[in-house]
Symmetry: C2
Subunit: 394 residues, 2 copies
């Protein structure tokens, strides 16, 4: 008499997780430094030392009741104010604390954003390739995730196919730029067109379609790439942010929801997040961590290694004849496999201790993902393995 | 086009919250030290210094990737193992890490427990008086909370009324001992009888009724009181724990789910918690906090002040002629008001700067709650105000 839907979910095992476990196991045989593990998107650079110092100072100096006491259900008001100020300064917005809800990472932020907009029977549209967790995230709200086919030429979005997919049940569209798994950054032109479509279709359908923007990779942008702030383009935007990647804090579960102040119900929506929390038992990120990130909003860990790694790999893959869109940010590459079945391709790569994830999990068969949030020395050593793999197998 | 159920929830304002805000406002007029604020269950004793030292040591010495990296979705395995060991040692159980799921406080633990067992249309039974948040917690799973009338003579539970309420839709019963708001600790005899009823009715109905035990006050037990470990009495028990009160860490959002190993699907249920998390965006408590509490599982903050305060108030109330069950633990008292309408009673008390919560919110009109997690000096000073209040008004 357990609830069957959760029991059923145990049957499907994540391919990424299985590959990561393979890499760990193989590491025990040959030394993990010899496994070219490109499976997991786990930040490899350390948290900034200044963040650690802030935590220690808070622990040493702050009154324990204030430091560890209940924070308000929307998050610590002073932290929310600082988040708003930082976003305003960086992106020319006009948020106040009333537009910010502190959440347990991007997963927590998305859980709230989805529930604001979509219920049983509704639809949320996203674009392939996409982060596989979007499917359970959306399905378990009772809504359904619909997926627009990938535009493999540049991994921007197929606007025409998108427009054709919007219907009565469409309540929101979910974008992720810079993108996991492609590394693509949506251009200004694409975001402008997307917003126009959303305005037009909202009017046509007689209900507002919201834009949910998943932004954990917002700070990982490569040289010369413009990364427009999504909420600028469309008033009805709910931005979901996480400090997991920018400050290398994935385990601390800290992020936020920011609703565009121009959205008519923006402040109500933030208040509603507090009510959603009551239902899902998700009452704020840890107070110590809230207070600490508030002092480091405009800083990041040293993220430069990701560009270094990305370019090393990208250039080698191009030299070897791969088709690959040059990443504009993140720590992912998403090249085309050298045979039609990317699962077979990735399986063969394992013989060379290259652990890469077939694109099937991301809704884009025939491609594969490399998560290059690893040590640059290992990336360099992996190039030889990649050359061997390609020479011997293709 | 926002989801209406959450918007509707904004209309109802928590009475506890309103009273707490009144106390804060009044504090600005006359000095907060002069407001006898018995409204909120917010721990007043500081976190143990040793806990703070552990946090600092982790920050100074642990490798940042290990300290702040993703923990597994069920929680850090070493932390889960230590929680199991501690429970085994203290309560003679035989948990392993596979029976423990780390959650964001009791609210997070309950959110998972409810979803394991109950879905749309199901019923969960609890006993008045009860923590008001149980209602939204359960309602937002799609299930319904049914409430057994209070047994005001001793605030144990009315087993006969309970048995009569169990039906086809009953999937679980939710108990909270030591109890908020009464301070009652359920006796061995009551728990034994409860378990017998659950066994009998489960057999009768042909489906298993689970016992969900909400235990945030487990460590706050007064002298000479026996507080049996609920899971001992019934194999199908899901214990939900929080460190909020025991270590005075409510803002850090840390607790766990422990499923009785004798429950046939215990390990599957813990795995299912990981799947439930994906849906509700609740992916583990903060990793730093997980690692720190793991070093302080068998310790608590200095909780003795709660008994001191409780007895001061209890004895004075009895002297003044109140009807009041002597609390066995927690930091709550739940006396009978001196007039039928406890809301009027509590309103009159405000004139004496006594802030107390009418029992109506807890499903028990005619009574009121005092949360005495405040400074003992203030409790002492409040006795005169209580005497004045009673003398002048009744």
């Amino acid at each position: 008499m357990l609830v069957q839907k959760y029991a059923d979910m145990l049957k499907g095992k994540s391919v990424i997780r299985m590959l990561s476990e393979f890499a760990q196991k193989r590491g025990k045989e040959i030394g993990y430094e010899n496994v070219f593990d490109y499976s997991l998107g786990n930040p490899s650079v350390p948290v900034p030392e200044a963040f650690t110092r802030t935590c220690i100072e808070l622990l040493e100096k702050e009154e324990p009741g204030k430091l560890h006491g209940y924070s308000q259900s929307l998050g610590n008001p002073s932290v929310r104010r600082k988040v708003a100020d930082s976003l305003n300064k960086r992106f020319g917005m006009n948020y106040t604390e009333n537009h910010i809800f502190m959440a347990s990472g991007a997963a927590g932020a998305l859980a709230h954003a989805f529930r604001l907009i979509a219920a049983e029977g509704d639809e949320i549209i996203t674009f392939a390739p996409f982060f596989p967790e979007y499917t359970p995230y959306v399905n378990l709200t009772g809504a359904r995730l619909k997926v627009v086919a990938p535009q493999t030429i540049d991994f921007q979005i197929n606007l025409e196919a998108f427009e054709g997919m919007i219907g009565e049940k469409t309540k929101a569209v979910l974008v992720n730029t810079p993108n996991n798994p492609t590394g693509a950054v949506y251009s200004r032109a694409v975001l402008e067109k997307l917003a126009k479509i959303l305005d037009r279709k909202s009017e046509e359908l007689g209900h507002r379609i919201y834009l949910i923007s998943d932004e954990p990779y917002r700070e990982i942008i490569f040289t010369g790439v413009e990364a427009p702030y999504v909420s600028h383009f469309y008033d009805y935007t709910i931005s979901c942010y996480s400090f997991s990647k920018s400050l290398s804090l994935p385990g601390e579960r800290i992020g936020y929801v920011a609703v565009n102040p121009a959205c008519p119900d923006a402040e109500t929506m933030i208040q509603m997040c507090g009510q959603i929390s009551r239902g899902i038992g998700h009452n704020c990120p840890a107070s110590l961590i809230q207070l600490a990130v508030a002092e480091h909003l405009d800083k990041t860990a040293d993220l430069s290694v990701y560009e270094t790694n990305g370019m090393l790999l990208y250039e080698e893959l191009i030299r070897l004849g791969f088709t690959c869109v040059k990443p504009g940010g993140t720590f992912y590459l998403f090249p085309k496999a050298l045979e039609e079945d990317a699962k077979l391709f990735c399986e063969k790569a394992l013989k060379y201790d290259l652990v890469m994830v077939p694109g099937d999990s991301f809704g884009c068969p025939g491609y594969f993902r490399m998560a290059y949030c690893i040590d640059t020395k290992k990336v360099e050593r992996s190039l030889e393995a990649i050359r061997e793999f390609v020479k011997n197998e293709y």
